[in-house]
Symmetry: none
Subunit: 126 residues, 4 copies
Amino acid sequence: MTDLFQSTKPIYSQLADRINRQILRGELKPGDKLPSVREMALQVNVNPNTVQRTYRELEGMEIVESRRGQGTFVTENEEILNAMRERLKKDEISQFVEGMHAMGYKNEEIEEGLRNFLNDGKGDQA
Amino acid sequence: MTDLFQSTKPIYSQLADRINRQILRGELKPGDKLPSVREMALQVNVNPNTVQRTYRELEGMEIVESRRGQGTFVTENEEILNAMRERLKKDEISQFVEGMHAMGYKNEEIEEGLRNFLNDGKGDQA
Amino acid sequence: MTDLFQSTKPIYSQLADRINRQILRGELKPGDKLPSVREMALQVNVNPNTVQRTYRELEGMEIVESRRGQGTFVTENEEILNAMRERLKKDEISQFVEGMHAMGYKNEEIEEGLRNFLNDGKGDQA
Amino acid sequence: MTDLFQSTKPIYSQLADRINRQILRGELKPGDKLPSVREMALQVNVNPNTVQRTYRELEGMEIVESRRGQGTFVTENEEILNAMRERLKKDEISQFVEGMHAMGYKNEEIEEGLRNFLNDGKGDQA
DNA sequence: GTGGTCTAGACCACA
DNA sequence: GTGGTCTAGACCACG
């Protein structure tokens, strides 16, 4: 059994990220029902309490909406989804830049490198 | 004991990356002696053969020079180190862009996002 | 049981030479499948790891191409094979000349001796 | 214990070649005394009878001269040594050319390759 | 001591 | 089946 989760970051938080990404990729669409807490717990092999906490977290961010007796659903509020999308983008970029700095690359190198990469057609989109 | 290595990529290869990064960051300078095969094996908790293979790999890339009976040393050929630096930069960028695409971000978004991030002073260098 | 391998040179390297020669002689043609790692290990009576290393070495030289789950194949890139042919020729000549020097023969003697040998029809080709 | 002898050729004959080479290289000079049969047998780790046969062979070629009660000596007849030198040269060349043919090299390639090698200064004599 | 080679045997990933 | 990785442990060559 392969574990889905890395080291430092709390699992519930990693799971939240994972769900956010699924929404971004369109694997989960606005209005879609998430797996039940128990179902999800089995799928990703964690404790149901952890899934519960993830859902609560997502609900706090208004990305997800729990309806008692029915389940948990992706919000249909596109604004919030867009905000999440923007936030996640910044997170990713931040993490990337931080990593590059740690390896000794300067800002200009990074920006220029990215520009070159995209223009060389190596970064053609799927 | 925390393991230093991730899942899919071969350990010898991850270790090579690790050493490359140490060179980039200046933690290892041209001419420096690497830990002996056995020493490194203890440090990173893998079999000496695996370290041996890493060193061999790095020697193939001319990043490192092994002298029997003496040790393994970072090359003093700065050109090769620069080439390695450039290659690694492209690798990182490629991986980053790929990840962003997988999450549904478009090239322009990525480029603009990076520019904003760097200009907002959030990406100030260490 | 006679061993196929000489003394000082590593076995994996001798085996690589052997395969190169088979390619040169046309016993192995571009696109041909080599014996599997295990098969070859039995044939030449060495450990599969040693054969693996040989194949890996040859792959590094781009003389051979390994496809996981399928086998290892002689490259169809004739340029590389020609380069290998030239390299090996120089190696053989170098070794021959070195040996002759060690026995006290001078360059002119060697060159003249070869010319005589070939012209006397003693060196008629197969 | 590494064996000094290769496969097909008879040992007494290989030992004769070995001694011839020592004479060519000047390790054994005209008039020098060879080790006694028993001494040589110990040195090269073969049966004294085999050494005996080698010495007889060399004596037949007049390269060596046995004096009862004194030992075996390198001939002082330079003509014979020169003849031997020439014969051995041809042997070596013959063997070399044969090997090259076996690997698919043509006569012109061999001759040209040798010329290039010697002219490139790679074959500078010791 | 150092790096380098080799074996035995296990397990993984791909197909 | 295929190639590829890893470990454990031995032994060699160089200095």
